[in-house]
Symmetry: C2
């Protein structure tokens, strides 16, 4: 049977193979993966969460296993607000919705805002998960180049001036995925000014903000917003556990009421047990202490990667960003026309990296860039992986 | 700030207040709720799941807390297949996707199929969560009347003959929500014939199928499908725990590949821990034994409700369905023009019921029907609730 005629327009152009392919690569235990976005599993508080889950299910099974409310457990919402307040991302009167991962918040925010043909301004390159979520609402993505210090603000103004129908700006201002870059305060102020001037909303995606290991903290866009234009997406994936799928969005009540309806018809609510576990973990343990351990480890892993790149990458063949936090860096091969040659060569040598085209607005445009992740592999494997990648670079 | 101009067309007509209002009602501990769809929490295997979660997080934290694959853990997919095989709902070569509750499967199936203006044939009345999910893709819902034995098949054929652009038929053939009715085999065969004849897909939603407490099992639509037209949505919400949010869809690989992409951009994957807990529960314990306990309890609760209705409802004022399983029954007040009078009166007496309009295709059309749930409240509360509802019926 041919299913093609049943497909909605939104899924017709979508191919699942690239995603499946990437997961397959990472499943091979022989492969050193510098490809994914996995946090360091060696630090997961398994012992603590084991005790917590045992206690919750023993003492409160009727709550933990029953239906919950769509916006999340009140105590879990308080946990989200607590994290958000640390970066001034919560304003009195804001609403909060607990999401099954921040990605759900991004998907449903787009669903609440985007009609076919509407425009979203995004960083170019940007996180594939968000770009693909946006694409499913048949919007037009308007890319704004990312520089060493984040979005090019002149290009942003130009994009706003030249495009009608822009509903929002989507940005990961801190330790951006995939580039690892961070927007300084001045650019953030200018971005908010432009959002006000051109009357558009801003979706600030901040999953990595807690993971700074050098440099100075920069205020969130949400903290600079005086008009209620910023929707803030936060996550527990990189500061507790991605497998638990706990994220949240914070923003104006009126707007979030619409998004809550979309969550209601999507997964009804985020699992109750994982919410209760997060609440109990934050009550019983110092999550900032746990985050500090992650920061320190990621700082060391990042340094190890940078050192290995200095040692093993052929001189002059690669340029890269030096992140102050987060989990990614971004590499460019100025003399290469299509990076897929390198990706394939690296895979022969059992190293997985993600080609830049995955993060592009136009995924068919050849890229000479690739993304490296340093949070997941051990330092030993990072060094070995970069060494092999250096060999691959020599050979292409 | 006025957000209205930013909203997508799909959310503009949606009001969140009804949903919020219903949750508020159920949160008041004074209220006897016959309104929700909660399974009996007194049977939840809290002790067993407590031990299981403790062990998983102690022994396999790196797996339980890390990112998983979008389609679900292989072992969890096997659990879903095992459940589906019991009702011949799995065919060799089918794909399976683990969903964060079956509702997500329904939402994303619609997202993969429906363009603005496409039509979905649904039972009238039907489950509000699915209807609202469909509405978010700006489809046209074509309602087919539900009789005492499910969808009126002549009306279905008429709907198929008279409507262009029908992409699928959505049905809960067993212990339907809200009516509690079950389609007999002959109707199911005819439905599949019509789907083949008119070349449309079928989404079979079967969350209650395991909960039969009287009468004979009827084959699933999926088991009667020879052309790969049926997408089967199954759930662990009513046979293990709704709070864990574990459901699945089964269907043709080609189709599910598209749906998997939509899940990837929606919540990336279903939480890993809850999947592992379900796998371990099904390995270590006999889930059918647990289901049997639920069936038996629901049978008793249903009988208690029917007895109380016989005793306390004013004669001739109410007609109701007698379900053979599931968790709902459906009541009609032939002499009432708008049931909201009864709903309000009942609420004064601290009993919550859901007005029929909530399940209608046209939610603004006044209804003389209401839905009762008997799985959630204790037998004592069911009897007391029906008594108060009887008083309310006397008074209107």
């Amino acid at each position: 049977m041919d299913y093609t005629k049943f497909y909605s327009d939104r899924v017709k152009p979508m191919k699942g193979s690239a995603i499946r392919e990437m997961f397959k690569r990472m499943a091979d235990p022989q492969i050193i993966s510098l490809a994914g976005g996995n946090p360091a599993s060696e630090l997961f508080p398994g012992e603590e969460l084991s005790k917590i889950s045992e206690k919750i299910l023993r003492e409160k099974p009727a709550q933990a296993l029953q239906y919950g409310t769509t916006d999340g457990l009140p105590a879990m919402k308080e946990c989200a607000i607590k994290r958000a307040k640390k970066v001034d991302a919560y304003t009195e009167g804001d609403s909060v919705i607990i999401m099954t991962g921040a990605n759900q918040g991004i998907d449903l925010t787009a669903k609440a805002l985007i009609n076919k043909g509407d425009k979203i301004i995004v960083e170019s390159p940007s996180f594939i998960g968000s770009l693909n979520a946006f694409r499913t609402y048949e919007c037009e993505l308007v890319g704004v180049e990312v520089e060493a210090d984040g979005m090019n603000i002149e290009a942003l103004e130009k994009a706003l001036a030249e495009n009608d129908g822009v509903k929002m700006i989507y940005t990961i201002p801190t330790f951006q995925n995939p580039t690892g870059t961070t927007m300084p305060l001045s650019k953030r102020q200018k971005l908010i000014e432009l959002a006000n001037k051109y009357d558009v909303l801003v979706l600030e995606d901040n999953p990595y903000g807690d993971l700074r290991f050098s440099g100075e903290e920069v205020p969130t866009l949400k903290s600079l917003d005086t008009e209620g234009r910023v929707i803030y997406a936060g996550s527990f994936s990189k500061i507790l556990s991605p497998g638990m799928r706990l994220g949240y969005i914070i923003g104006a009540e009126e707007l979030l009421t619409k998004i809550e309806i979309l969550k209601q018809v999507n997964d009804v609510h985020t699992p109750v047990l994982t919410q209760m576990m997060c609440v109990e973990f934050m009550e019983k343990y110092d999550i900032d202490e746990y985050i500090e351990k992650n920061r320190e480890l990621y700082g060391r892993k990042c340094s190890a990667m940078l050192e290995a790149m200095d040692e093993y990458f052929p001189k002059g063949k690669v340029k890269w960003t030096v992140p102050e936090g987060g989990i990614f860096m971004w590499c460019e091969c100025p003399d290469v026309s299509d990076i897929s040659v390198l990706v394939d060569k690296a895979l022969e040598k059992k190293v997985a990296i993600v080609p830049g085209s995955n993060f592009a607005i136009d995924i068919n445009e050849p890229s000479n860039k690739f993304r490296l992740n340093y949070s997941s592999a051990t330092i030993e494997k990072i060094t070995e992986g970069i060494k092999r990648l250096g060999e691959a670079l020599e050979e292409i």
